[in-house]
Point group: C2
Chain length 376, copies 2
């Protein structure tokens, strides 16, 4: 894996780069659609490539481990082949879902015992187990197994958790050294900075994480309920301690405005379920602001869904038609909203990239952030 910086904004810390993987190039900054159980909900893989123009997608290790199971994914020759996606994939470590979704999880130095949210069956994840599962899934980028402390956390909890995350990272690295890749291409481990919202812990974690030579570095434990200003402060601080020449991935973020603000702070990669999950609830993100398509005000608005939109759904369907589909609880409504929102997120990060390259990012960002938060 190789990362090349192409441009840096003079009025912010925003960067434009190219990340090269075994499954192709990724132009950064980039947004990664979330394909939890080997499917980005309600969109075809063909649409992901040709209409949404996704360059990399994310899979969730916890979900894939439970269904269909690593044995079946391995039988298919890895996740790329199983789901027919030949561009890059990133998998998370499973940790976050173990803490947030499973029942009765119990965290020790060794790892985490938990019960499946599907059938209550008992399982155990450790750094080694997470690596083994991610080897079998076969993503291009795999994530270190960490603990993601809740917000707020006491200083003591956050520090102990961070220290354990650092020890777990070494176990991940050790396991990967001893266990070669399965499918003939490189898998890059991204370690994760933790430390809750404590400046000194974030600094310590960023320095510790950065001391390991890796292809990229992630910022975890944000977008878990803290105010946006605290998220930006932590992101800013952490980026200042991470290597300049490697991509930085802010996990689980966020709204379109969150993404632009974090790009300005030097973040290169993002993922979030918001475009699909909120889309399925009728929230449509556009360059002029946010539409709640369920509102009666759109009932007789026969204008295109998004006149500035760049995918076929924006011109093929009207606001009134999409509102009707939501009112009638039709599948197609969720499909249109998901496809539109994902394309919008990909368009937005590509616009940011072009503005960084042509030197107009900072002023454009300030105008856009205002617009993006407007309720239409």
């Amino acid at each position: 894996m190789n990362f090349e910086l192409k441009a840096q904004d003079s009025k912010s810390k925003a960067r434009a780069g190219v990340l090269t993987t075994a499954h192709g190039e990724i132009q950064t900054p980039i947004f990664m659609p979330v394909g939890t159980v080997a499917s980005v909900k309600a969109v075809h893989q063909r649409e992901l490539k040709e209409d949404i123009k996704a360059q990399i997608i994310l899979g969730n290790t916890y979900h894939l481990y439970l269904r269909p199971g690593t044995d079946i994914i391995n039988g298919a020759g890895g996740l790329h082949k199983f789901m027919n996606w030949d561009r890059p994939i990133l998998t998370d470590s499973g940790g976050y879902q173990v803490y947030s979704l499973s029942n009765n999880n119990k965290i020790t130095e060794e790892g985490v015992k938990f019960k499946s949210h599907i059938d209550g069956s008992r399982h155990f994840f450790s750094p080694e187990k997470s690596m083994e599962i991610q080897r079998n899934i076969g993503a291009d980028i795999i994530m270190a197994f960490d603990e993601c402390p809740p917000y707020p956390s006491t200083y003591e909890y956050a520090k102990n958790s961070m220290d354990m995350t650092h020890r777990w990272l070494q176990r991940c690295i050790d396991w990967l050294k001893e266990n070669p890749e399965l499918y003939g291409f490189e898998q890059s481990l991204f370690p994760i900075v933790q430390g809750s919202t404590y400046n000194d812990l974030r600094k310590e974690s960023a320095e510790t994480i950065a001391s390991h030579p890796c292809d990229g570095y992630a910022i975890g434990g944000l977008s878990v309920g803290e105010p946006h200003d605290e998220m930006y402060a932590m992101s800013d601080l952490v980026c200042s301690y991470l290597p300049e020449d490697k991509p930085r991935y802010l996990m689980g973020v966020g709204t379109p405005a969150n993404i632009l603000e974090n790009i300005a702070l030097g973040v290169d990669m993002f993922d979030c379920v918001m475009p699909t999950r909120n889309g399925r609830n009728g929230m449509i993100f556009t360059s002029e602001g946010i539409i709640n398509i369920k509102n009666k005000k759109w009932e007789r608005d026969f204008s295109p869904l998004d006149p500035n939109g760049t995918s076929f759904v924006d011109s093929d369907y009207s606001k009134a038609y999409l509102r009707h589909l939501f009112a009638a609880n039709e599948y197609l409504g969720r499909q249109i909203a998901s496809l539109h929102n994902l394309r919008f997120y990909l368009w937005l990060v590509n616009e940011a990239r072009e503005k960084i390259i042509d030197g107009t990012f900072a002023s454009w960002k300030n105008v856009m952030v205002e617009k993006l938060q407007t309720r239409l």
Copy 2:
């Protein structure tokens, strides 16, 4: 509207024709995907055209009247514009759904009082009202308002019902004469033959219906629970009394085998929710037989969904992947199954058409009917 017969099979009563409407040509025999509330469930209009290759779709008057309502469809300039579908559309009369879906319906000579299945609100459909709604929806083919008697029905009930359907037909014709089209193109009324499973009633109804000069004729009241042999007998009998030079539409039929058998009896047009509804439940129709994709036997079958299939989903996705999507209750599973099944139905009727034209229909049909009913 114009219908031209292109070929007739020498060993059966199968016909191949071309039906020309204001929104383009339809090659018969044809299957019409059902787009109940202005959406063929779980497929985009673009997929309907380019992948499924649908030539005409069906809308349900009862559903569209309740949601979004004729006023909104009229505001959009008719259903074609509202849903962005520029090929032909057929709407049913609303009668069948009033009897099968609504609560407390009460049928009199004047019409049918009923309560909405959505919110219990009270409504009244009559032949005139059905025509008025269908004028506003603006389909190319509109259906006469009839009563569809249940199976089994007593001879007396079936006869009285049929007589009323004939009187209602005249009221439909009278209303249409006095009320011009709204959107600048022709709407053709298809009357409906009733008579339950009584030979003499079916003959009487077919002759009565055929005495009205119309652009096409429909056979109603079948596929409502009667044995397949009775359906075929009625269809055969009715076709023998309908004009040779007009298209014949068998409403609500059916399985792939049902469709081929009825093509052999001289039917030209079909509609059914089976490919989409059964698809959403995991039933996949193929040229080799029927797959229940939820079965464990497909869990590790990484071969293409349908190697003989003619749409992108057949090669893009494996059986194991589709099974996983159903096991995980993912939207994409329903989307793939719906698209595949609809394309399969359209492929099947087009194959039938080509076999009719090249004179090999009857023997091909017998082989196919066997295969189509095999459980894989």
